[in-house]
């Protein structure tokens, strides 16, 4: 069952390459939250219940509802145009993300470690690099945040792989998740709209040498 969820997770990554609307991105991020909820539930059922509840709450409440809602709110409030505006054509994005997935797959195939749940590793790496790819290939800063959230989801999958033995790490990961995303989004909500004109919200590129 976990395998199916993780495969669906990977498909959602491919979809990120195809999608060109911010709304679809938000939907994907929210959807990934649901999948992670499922994965966490199946994988971590053995750890102590308090921890489990915390993790489940984080995935379902935070990743699936709060953050996507927040993102929507920011887009509305700052009147950000709804297109992702990639530097590269979307077609190339799909190709690159496919290559990323294949690459992570091949990489993990070279590891001979019986303890490793390979599929977690593949999915996590794919999410990680897809997130990075989205950050470098999209023009808007809100899409950078979304790329970061995808990376976070990848990290979550990775922490699942070690979660049974070291639940503390999963918790720290969650801490990171909440901390970083609340902070990133918080600046967006409160400050960017006040200080900058609408047009500037989309690109911050004045500081350079």
């Amino acid at each position: 069952m976990t395998n199916i969820l993780l495969i669906i997770f990977t498909i959602s990554l491919i979809y990120l390459g195809v999608a060109n609307r911010l709304k679809s991105y938000i939907a994907v991020i929210s959807f990934q939250g649901i999948i992670l909820f499922g994965v966490a539930f199946i994988e971590l059922i053995e750890i102590n219940w308090l921890n489990l509840v915390l993790i489940l709450l984080e995935t379902i409440v935070f990743k699936t509802i709060v953050i996507p809602y927040f993102l929507n709110y920011i887009i509305k409030k700052n009147k950000i145009t709804r297109e992702a505006e990639p530097f590269l054509p979307d077609f190339l994005s799909v190709v690159i993300i496919t290559v990323i997935i294949l690459g992570s797959f091949l990489l993990s195939n070279t590891i001979n470690d019986p303890k490793l749940k390979k599929i977690f590793f593949v999915v996590a790496l794919s999410a990680l690099f897809t997130g990075l790819y989205i950050i470098v290939s999209r023009r808007k800063i809100i899409t950078h945040v979304m790329g970061f959230l995808v990376i976070e989801n990848g990290v979550f999958v990775l922490s699942m792989a070690v979660g049974n033995e070291m639940p503390m790490l999963v918790n720290i990961g969650i801490l990171l998740d909440i901390f970083a995303s609340v902070f990133l989004l918080g600046i967006f909500v409160n400050k960017i709209g006040d200080v900058l004109k609408e047009g500037d919200v989309e690109h911050l590129s004045k500081l350079k040498d």
Binding site: M1, N3, I4, I7, I8, T10, I11, I14, Y15, G17, V18, N20, P89, D90, F91, S93, V94, V95, I97, T98, I101, L102, F105, N109, K118, I119
Partner: protein
């Protein structure tokens, strides 16, 4: 034999159901289910008009197109019953027979010398080109999974045991549905209803065809749809089913397929033309995932 019959029967009402679904969903009464068929029949009774600038290619292309589809249908099995033609590697033949038909359509479009037809031909060629790898990777994954290379053997030995293989099956069905939509020039890739040459893909290619030829092409499209429906239905049929199970399942899947297409076409707008390539390429990516999934099932990778 059974599958050929069933597919032909399905082709009679397939487009009608799509149109009917769309009418109902937009709150209209809509034409009868057999209206598309009646239109085709009307076209069959007419003579064709050929432009002076076109050559014999333009005249034979519709027939070849139609024949290629019929040929392809012969290979479709039905659960335990194999198609009329069945041999090792027939899915490759299947793909190329269809490609042959399409090739002739493209050439005949170029033959007319109209700037619209050329535009449509280039679009259609691009989309087929992008959709092909998806089909091949998908079928090869199943060949790998089952160890056989013909439609009949693949589908009759395909057993879904573990969860992951169910996921693979579902994904494969999804990919096939989308391929069917692309090959039949339906939404969201192409809009079969449009009257604007600039936005057409398939329609603009056959803009110069008329009468009997046009009827052949239109009916060929209906057959093609039913053919893909049949292919998808095979995912849900196992050889152990008796004919009185498999026929209702077949018809049910065809119906469902048509209704899904109708729903899809009602509730979304078509893609911008330059978004089509990546959308189609996504199928290849998903097929690759299926391939990886198969490797996982086979234990080739842990």
């Amino acid at each position: 034999m059974l599958s050929l019959l069933l597919i032909i029967i399905a082709s009679l009402f397939f487009t009608g159901i799509i149109i009917r679904t769309k009418s109902i969903l937009s709150g209209r009464k809509g034409p009868g289910i057999f209206q598309p068929l009646k239109d085709i029949w009307r076209l069959f009774k007419k003579g064709a008009v050929y432009s002076n600038t076109s050559s014999f290619v333009f005249q034979i292309a519709p027939s070849i197109y139609f024949a290629s589809i019929l040929m392809a249908i012969l290979m479709i099995p039905l659960g335990g019953h194999q198609g009329i033609i069945s041999f090792k590697g027939d899915f490759i033949f299947f793909a190329y027979v269809l490609a042959l038909g399409k090739f002739f359509m493209i050439v005949s479009a170029l033959d007319t010398g109209s700037s619209f037809s050329g535009m449509g031909a280039s679009r259609e060629a691009l989309y087929s080109l992008l959709a092909e790898p998806a089909f091949f990777i998908l079928m090869s994954s199943f060949a790998l999974l089952t160890g056989y290379t013909s439609f009949h053997e693949i589908f009759s030995t395909l057993h879904f045991g573990t969860y992951i293989s169910y996921a693979i099956g579902a994904l494969a069905a999804f990919v096939l549905v989308i391929i069917a939509l692309i090959e039949n020039s339906r939404m969201p890739i192409d809009d079969p209803k449009t009257h604007l040459e600039l936005t057409m893909v398939h329609e603009v290619m056959i803009l110069d065809n008329s009468g009997f030829d046009l009827g052949l092409i239109l009916y060929g499209t209906n057959l093609k749809f039913a053919m893909y429906g049949g292919l998808i239905a095979n995912f849900f049929l196992t050889p152990s089913y008796e004919w009185y199970f498999s026929i209702p399942i077949f018809i049910g899947v065809q119906l469902l397929f048509a209704v899904i297409v109708g729903i899809l076409e009602s509730f979304m707008a078509r893609f911008r033309m330059n978004h089509n390539p990546q959308y189609i390429f996504m199928l290849t990516s998903i097929s690759l995932l299926i391939f990886l999934g198969v490797l996982l099932v086979l234990g080739k990778i842990a």
